[in-house]
Amino acid sequence: MSLSFPTMAAIRFGYGFRPGEVAAQNKDDLLKQVNADARAPVAFPVGGIEQRHQVIADLQANLRDLRQSDDDDQTRRERRKVLQKQAQRTFQQDTNARLLQAVMSPNGFYERLSTFWTNHFSTSANKSLPMRLLVPLYEAEAIRPRIGGRFADLLRSATEHPAMLIYLDQAESLGPDSKGGMRQKKGLNENLGRELLELHTLGAGSGYTQADVRAAAMVLTGLTIDRQEMDMAFRPNIAEPGRHEVLGVSYGGDRRRPGDYLAMLDDLAANPKTAAHICRKLAVHFVADQPDDGLIAAMTGAWKKTDGDLRAVYGAMLDHPTAWANEGAKARQPFDFVVAGLRALNAGSGDGTVVAFLKDNDQNDDAQAMGAQGAMAPGAPDMGGAMNGGAKADMKGGDTADGSGPSMIDPGDENRVKRRKAMQTARALGQGALRRMGQPIWLPPSPAGFEESFSAWITASQLAERLGWARRATAQFGQGLDPREFLKATLGDAARDDTIRVVSQAPNKTTGLMLALASPEFNRR
């Protein structure tokens, strides 16, 4: 290891240093972060897990009411738009909270693992309206509490969550010969069955066949959602009767039970190919695009020995010397970059400037959003636009003020304008910037999640976006920081002599701070 332990630990296995935070000094410090008792309550979903279940049930009731109403089309569209706006606002608050969580948490390794697993079991908030509310809940209740335990438990918890069931169309899958399937003339949807084998467990090209995919989907039938409560449900009347053979093991019977698919999930979790696939993916994510075979062997060995105890697998990774070699071999992905940048700029202990700003903005958001409908500038994206228009829409709403016509400037309400601007800035530095960088929170491009390789993230346009972000962030939060001290505090001994020289010679402080965030070592890990 050529860099000090705390530096490698913070940059490769965490979200970088935050001035005022105690850095991990050894492997035990890192592993302790994964322990349940080390974790503070998660900052999302906003309002808490219990309340979110209620909000989702309310949304479902409203949507049902809307479908059944006698209103004319125009009125229905408008009613739906209001519901969309509310959900979208909540989603924005959640993305902000997720950013805050990662910035503020002293458990960087646990936060990075949460990101890894949420991406491994990808779901997208873009799938449907309720998914805006469900996906943050999914990470909070199905992923995070399970990532320090057995893989089998995590697999079950992710697979059974309504966010997954909706995202991979399991809620639309019916056994073609089941009573329910025949009555509704609907049949099998293979989506979850396929991704379960290809992405979540065994891995692509690991030897399973199309017949296995279809059989797995058959075994999964019956597993669906209760649309009123938006909870998972098992309905035997839509489960395909009979036995279905997946990888040579037969599941099911005349009477179908949840135990059928649970047994299949357990078998898949215990399959050595799953261990190999997951261990390799972890190593690729944390250590190197082409990880050392010995590293993966050590991890799969720990998996085998402990029956898939993830904490033991992480421990084996951290114990292996190559995990601490070749610093900077990986690219910081956009979320990683943004979080690390905000942590670096959030000087001081406790709530530094960044966090104070984001929290303040969060509190103001309700009042702001209430008034926002009237003040929404022409051309500003409505919630549908922001979701579907992707980068373009968010650029308009979050990054520039060019959507703000005269209605935005109301001499009588300077505060509202101020709040709106603050929210725009927060969005421009958070989810808006992440959209433009290609990695918006909870909006992966496909069930396979975000790209992983160095070359995917260090490109010309990516660099341009990162420089733009660095400029904006240092202008917003860099006041009073000396670039030379900033560089030292955020990169420690990872700062190269070249970078130290260039940063200290920058033509002004803001540019100096920007150069520190733009440096190769800040964008590598």
Partner: protein, 390 residues
């Protein structure tokens, strides 16, 4: 008035709205005739005073700068038979002729020897004798001691409050998004930053070639226009309730290829001054002083890459209808043997803080005691200051 309305739209669209209200009460524009205005422009990155106002009459000058020195034959605009103005500042000549423009040569802050931009700008803006001695900006401290309260309203036209106006006294900040664009002198720093990392160097090269919108603006790109926008914004605020404004112009750190690099920031500065004049109109301009200053000058000799490195003595620019200009002020130390500081820099003969003190004294009746004790601790300034005649 029509023009103003149009430009107001233009900058409202890109400006931060912290101080939206004042600009929306057009009836108050120019409603306080007789009030004086003061604008500071911080030239960040160390402006090469010897390139802006070139001592072509000095025998040694051309030898120090074989590729950079100009003469009236090669485009330099003669000012007084000894000094000449850089051709990119040609649009300032009408002001020079109408005596609304002056240059003060061989000035510096008390900062010596280290030549760090950060520390130099810290001194320039805090007004202290030593680095980090003062934690607030001198222009902010001045706000507290200006006798007439209606003259105190100040605006910082930058993304965030800059040190010069930072402190306990209330200052409004108008962020213009244009400040978020890349500074021209950023490019070379980024190239150096990535020089040792092929993956980043390649990405940077591609981005530069593609001229990505948010990336490196090509020379001749839209940024000059944006500096004019900032100046127009400041001018319009000064037409309203504001009496003091400050903004920055970057791009002066010309270590490499100065002959090309220097043109754009000079055009920016020129445009900033002419825009202020046209925005303010003849009446207010006649009561206005603009002081443009930099953290330090640059080496007398050009370096091996057609640029200049960090030096000491520099040049300050004074403009405005309230200036008795058309002159080069200060005491010229010469470029001969043993006249250079450390055998490399223009030797400073005046403290840039004295110029600022004189302007505060003249424009706002700040007392000599306040100026020398509170605003610029340690500065030499009294009623006999040469800059009171500027």
């Amino acid at each position: 008035m029509t023009d103003f309305t149009l430009s107001r739209r233009g900058f409202l669209a890109s400006a931060c709205c912290l101080a939206a209200a004042p600009i929306l009460t057009p009836v108050t524009f120019a409603s306080m005739p007789g009030d004086k205005r003061f604008v500071t422009i911080v030239l960040r990155g160390a402006m090469d005073g010897l390139a802006l106002v070139q001592p072509y009459g000095d025998v040694g000058f051309a030898a120090f700068r074989p590729t950079l020195a100009l003469t009236p034959e090669t485009g330099l605009i003669d000012l007084d038979g000894h000094f000449g103005l850089h051709p990119s500042a040609a649009d300032l000549m009408p002001l020079w002729r109408s005596r609304e423009l002056a240059f003060v040569h061989a000035v510096s802050t008390p900062y010596r020897d280290q030549r760090s931009h950060f520390d130099g700008q810290d001194m320039l803006e805090s007004g202290g004798e030593h680095v980090s001695e003062e934690k607030t900006g001198w222009l902010n401290r001045a706000l507290a001691v200006i006798p007439r309260s209606d003259a105190r309203k100040a605006i910082d036209v930058n993304t965030s409050t800059e040190l010069i106006l930072t402190g306990p006294n209330n200052v409004d900040v108008w962020a213009s998004d244009s400040n978020l664009g890349p500074a021209r002198d950023e490019t070379q720093f980024l190239q150096r930053l990535y020089a040792g990392d092929p993956a980043f160097a390649k990405a940077m090269e591609e981005a530069t070639r593609a001229n990505s919108a948010s990336m490196v603006a090509e020379p001749g790109g839209p940024r000059g226009q944006k500096v004019a926008d900032v100046a127009a914004l400041a001018g319009n605020m000064l037409k309203g309730d504001y009496r003091i404004a400050s903004f920055s112009i970057t791009g002066w750190d010309t270590h490499v290829g100065q002959i090309g690099q220097f043109k754009r920031p000079v055009q920016d500065l020129t445009e900033a001054i002419t825009t202020l004049k046209s925005t303010l109109g003849p009446d207010i301009w006649s009561k206005t002083v603009v002081l443009a200053m930099t953290e330090f000058g640059r080496t007398v000799r050009e370096n091996g890459s057609g640029g200049t490195d960090h030096g000491t003595g520099g040049c300050a620019v004074l403009a405005g209808g309230a200036i008795n200009g058309g002159r080069i002020l200060g005491r010229w130390p010469g470029l001969g043997d043993h006249q250079l500081l450390d055998e490399r820099d223009l030797a400073p003969t005046a403290d840039v803080r004295e110029i600022a003190a004189a302007m505060l004294y003249r424009q706002f009746d700040v007392t000599v005691d306040d100026l020398t004790a509170k605003i610029f601790p340690g500065v030499t300034f009294d009623k006999g200051s040469q800059f009171l005649r500027a």
